[in-house]
Symmetry: C2
Subunit: 303 residues, 2 copies
C-alpha cells in the first residue's frame, strides 16, 4: 500500500523565494490528505503536476496564516472547476466562520459540501478513520491552540498463499476468513490453520506531523515509535531563546525528540526565512539523529 508524503511548502511565517508556507500532501493507498495549506498551496500543486481534485481530506493544524491562508483559494478553485464531491475538513472551530464569511461576500454558494469537524486542542483524540488509516490529534504547545496529526495505517489483512491453497483445494469461500486470521474447524473433524495458508502483513506504519510547537516534551507520548516523524525545526540551536519566545523548536531539539521517541526517520521543516541555505539545519539535527532529512518542496518521502 502506498504511504508517502509530498512537501508543498516548507517555510515558516513569511514566504521566501523558493520556499512557500507550510503544506504537505499525504498519499495513503491513493487517497490524498492535505495537511495544512499555506498561501500559494494551489499554485504549488499546479507546479508539481498534482491534481487538486484528488484531495478529499484537509487537516489544518492551527490558525496562523502560514498554515491556512491558501485554503480559501484552494476551495474556491475547486468550486470554479466544478467539484461536487464532499470535502472533509478538520481544523480549529473558527476556521469555518472564516471561510463562510469570505464565501458570503463573494456571493459563492459552493457546488460541493464541506463536512467540517472542529478540532479541540485539549487532549489527543481520534478524529478520522477509514479502511486505510486512522488520524489522531497530537496536542502541541504553541502561542495559539495547535494540533499535530498522527496518521496510522490500519493493520492489513493477512496475505494468502494462493498456490498452496489451490494445491490443497481449499474452497474459495474460506479465503476471507483466513485473511482475517481465523482458523476453520471443518465438519469432518479436520482444522484449517490460517497460519498454514497465509502470512502476516507488514506492521502498520505511522506518520506524525508536528508543527508548530515549543519542544516541551508534553506530546512525546503521542508520537512514540512512529515510522516517519515530521517535526518543525524553525531555528538553529544558537537561537534557542528566540525559539522558546516564539514557541518554536530548534533543529537540535527536533533531533532529540526523534531520538527519544524512537522515530524511524526525521523530516525537518518550517524553516525560518533567515536561512538562505538549509544545510546547517540538517547538519545540526543529523549530528544527533543521523536519519534526518530536510523537507524539500516538490520531494516525495516514503513512509
Amino acid at each position: 500500500m502506498k504511504f508517502e508524503v509530498t512537501i508543498l511548502g516548507s517555510s515558516s511565517a513569511t514566504p521566501v523565494y523558493n520556499r512557500n508556507p507550510t503544506a504537505q500532501l499525504l498519499n495513503c493507498n491513493e487517497k490524498f490528505y492535505l495537511i495544512d495549506c499555506g498561501e500559494g498551496t494551489q499554485q504549488q500543486l499546479i507546479k508539481f503536476g498534482i491534481k487538486a481534485s484528488k484531495i478529499d481530506h484537509v487537516f489544518i493544524s492551527h490558525l496562523h496564516g502560514d498554515h491556512y491562508f491558501g485554503l480559501i483559494g484552494l476551495l474556491s478553485s475547486m468550486h470554479l472547476n466544478g467539484r461536487t464531491k464532499p470535502m472533509k475538513l478538520f481544523g480549529p472551530e473558527p476556521l469555518l466562520d472564516i471561510l463562510n464569511l469570505q464565501f458570503k461576500h463573494s456571493d459563492t454558494i459552493l457546488k460541493f459540501p464541506i463536512e467540517f469537524t472542529a478540532i479541540q486542542a485539549e487532549q489527543p483524540s481520534l478524529i478520522f478513520e477509514n479502511n486505510d488509516v486512522t488520524v489522531e490529534t497530537i496536542i502541541l504547545n504553541h502561542r495559539i491552540p495547535c494540533t499535530g496529526f498522527k496518521f496510522k495505517e490500519k493493520k492489513r489483512l493477512r496475505k494468502l498463499l494462493v498456490e498452496k491453497l489451490e494445491a490443497d483445494q481449499v474452497p474459495l469461500e474460506y479465503y476471507p476468513l483466513l485473511k482475517r486470521g481465523v482458523d476453520l474447524d471443518l465438519p469432518n473433524g479436520s482444522t484449517i490453520l490460517n497460519t498454514d495458508y497465509t502470512t502476516d502483513s507488514a506492521e502498520p506504519k505511522t506518520y506524525c506531523y508536528c508543527s508548530d510547537t515549543i519542544a516541551d516534551g508534553s506530546y512525546l507520548n503521542s508520537i512514540q515509535d512512529c515510522t516517519v516523524l515530521y517535526h518543525e525545526a524553525t531555528f538553529l540551536h544558537d537561537l534557542l531563546e528566540r525559539a522558546i519566545f516564539t514557541h518554536h523548536t530548534t533543529a537540535l531539539q527536533a533531533a532529540e525528540i526523534a531520538l527519544n521517541t524512537g522515530a524511524g526517520k526525521l523530516l525537518i521543516g518550517h524553516f525560518s526565512s533567515r536561512y538562505k541555505t538549509l544545510q546547517p539545519l540538517l547538519e545540526e539535527a543529523a549530528a544527533v539523529f543521523p536519519n534526518t532529512e530536510l523537507a524539500l518542496e516538490g520531494v516525495t518521502y516514503l513512509i
Copy 2:
C-alpha cells in the same frame, strides 16, 4: 515624474502555471500603490525583487477571491517583518471584517495601523489624493459590487528657465509664484510675465484600471481619454455568451472600449485559465486597437 505599472498577476478566477491571480503595482513618483492582491502576490513581489515595505496604499476592486485572497498574507508578513508605518487600504466595506476575523483568531495585534476607506460601488467618487495623484473610482458592472480605479497625475508646476532668470537677476523669492503661473506687477511699474521665465509642464497622465466587468458601456464616461487603459479581457470573442453570462469582457470588446474612449494605449489581462497561449487574445484586440499589449507578469509598462 515616474508613472508606471508592474504586473504581478494576470490570471482570472483560478491560477494556472506561470499566471497568478490579479495584482498590479503602480509607481507614481516613487510612491507605490498596489491594485488588487490575488493569492500569492507576496510571493510575486519576492520573485520580482520588489520590497513589499514600499507599498503604503492598497486598492481592492471587489471581493472575488482572485482579487484579494493574497491581502491577509501580505499584511501578516508586513507585521512579522516589523512594519510600523500606516497602510492606507481602500476596498468594499466587508473587507475589514474579513481581515479582522483572521487577525483575531491568529491572536495578531498588528504593529501598524490600517487606515481603511470603505468604497461604495454606486457612483464614481474621489477616494484619495496627495501631491502626486488623485484616485477616483470607476463603477463597473460585475456579479458583485466592483469598482475600477482611475489614477490621474496632478498637473505639475511650470518649469523655471533658470539661466534666463539669473541673467535678468530676478529675485529668488519670485520663483515660487512664477512656477504657479503668476505674473508679477512690480512697484516700479514693470511686469514680470511668468511665460517669459517658465515653460508649461507636461500634461497629466491617467491610468485606468477596469477589472472585472461586463462590457456594457456604463462606465465609459469615467475612462475617457486615458493615457493607458488596463481592461480585463477574460475571453476571446467566440465566447461572448460566456463573457456576458459571467459578467466579463472579450478581447475584442476591450479593444472597442479603448477605441471609443480615445485611450492612448490598451493593456489587456485577467486571462481565462483555458488559454495556454495569449497571442490569440492580443491579435483579436490589436486588430481593432493596434496599440494593445498583453499584461505580462513581471513586466513594467510606462504610462
